[in-house]
Amino acid sequence: MNDEKRPTLRPRRRVNLTASRCPISMVRAKLALDALAAGETIELVLAEGEQIQDIPRTLKQEGHRVLRVNRKGANYHLIVCKGC
């Protein structure tokens, strides 16, 4: 894969899901991903606990890939590539 096609680790869009509760948080994550083209990335902000326990595995099962995880305080910032 050349550099032009490599998924960016600095996505233009960030969605903070920390105020949402299950299942709305997952629905919002899915809607955000639906708006992307395959190969595009997005930053999802998840709270510790239920969100970080449940959402990454669902993203993986749905064919997306978490490229990077940064922990900032009680939140996790995930760079997610659609369909990667």
């Binding site: 326990q53 595995r57 978490v66 995880v69």
Partner: protein
């Protein structure tokens, strides 16, 4: 006393038509179980066999049809995933049975027999499912359903993951899916997602290298780490069944004991067979006693563990703890 006890006991008249071919068939069906006397005169509930709670639509349609024709204004969903058709007259039970049999729907059992196994949706539908509970429940039902006489009823449940929705620890024999994880350190990117995803605190990040460290004593073998890992560094080393014996609900519940771990699919039916044979043999002459109640006695438990060891083989738990009584009623002292 079972609600259907009166029907089965000697000396009680079975309300069957005095003539016609259905009279004998009804009596046979009553003795086999699955037709349960109601408190209303000449009304019986017919319990249907729905292993794992799965019901093909064709059968459901026929059930609706016969319930309309022979039953009351509703069906009842039993605590063990069966559909029950109440308010059937005894003289109609054979007609109901034959009509349902045309679409492959059978009647369930009651009494001192192997009951219809229960199961969750398992790995076919549930993202958390680790094993094919539906397939195994069906296989177990095909082979063991209705077997008896046993000292008492015998219930089995199949659960797809440690969330254990089918309550494997309160069945005479329970099978719960489990996965043992292992880490490919070379593939791990130290992202920490597995540490965050583990609900049991069974993975911690090494402070020096950031590499995840697995703590097996805390692990429930749910596979969350495997599912969460973005680079598939966590993998399944073993997948199989946790085997629990001796559990029960009822007046004096008992929590079953785990006697094997990661038992492979191909050993499940053999294990059921061995447990049933043991129960038949050691329960003989002890009256109406559930497997778990027998196993509460320490010597009997040791005997059971020793007898099952050759069958469970390398998957046997070493020195397993026995089943535990789980008293739920207020037992007044001095009573």
């Amino acid at each position: 006393m079972d609600r259907n006890q009166g029907v089965k006991s000697k000396g009680r008249k079975v309300r069957a038509p005095a003539e016609g071919p259905s009279a004998e068939a009804d009596f046979v069906a009553l003795k086999a179980g699955g037709i349960i006397r109601q408190r209303q005169k000449d009304r019986y509930t017919m319990r249907l066999k729905c292993p794992g709670g799965r019901l093909p639509l064709e059968r459901l349609a026929r059930i609706l049809e016969v319930a309309h024709r022979y039953g009351g204004d509703h069906v009842h969903l039993s605590a063990r995933q069966s559909i029950e058709i109440p308010y059937v007259s005894l003289s109609d039970t054979d007609r109901v049975r034959r009509s349902l049999a045309e679409v492959g729907q059978e009647i369930a059992s009651c009494g001192a027999r192997v009951r219809v196994p229960t199961a969750c949706a398992g790995c076919e539908l549930n993202p958390l499912g680790l094993v094919d509970t539906q397939r195994m429940a069906r296989l177990a039902c095909d082979r063991f359903f209705g077997q008896g006489p046993l000292p008492h009823k015998f219930k089995m449940a199949f659960s797809g993951c440690p969330n254990d929705c089918p309550h494997t620890s309160t069945n005479d024999l329970g099978f719960q899916g489990a996965v043992e994880p292992e880490l490919d350190e070379g593939a791990c990117t130290q992202c920490g997602l597995c540490v965050a995803a583990c609900k049991e605190g069974a993975i911690r990040q090494d402070s020096a290298t950031s590499t995840p460290r697995w703590i097996p004593e805390k692990c429930l073998y749910c596979g969350d780490c495997v599912r969460a890992c973005p680079v598939d560094a966590w993998r399944a080393r073993r997948t199989g069944w946790m085997v629990r014996v001796g559990g029960k609900h009822g007046r004096h519940p008992i929590t079953g004991a785990t006697v094997a771990e990661f038992l492979p699919d191909e050993k499940v039916l053999e294990t059921i067979e061995a447990v049933l044979a043991w129960y038949r043999k050691f329960g003989q002459g002890k009256g109406r006693v559930r497997l778990g109640a027998l196993l509460l006695e320490p010597r009997t438990w040791r005997q059971f563990v020793a007898d099952l060891a050759p069958v469970l083989g390398q998957w046997a738990v070493r020195n397993p703890s026995p089943p535990r009584p789980n008293e739920i009623h207020l037992m007044k002292s001095g009573a």
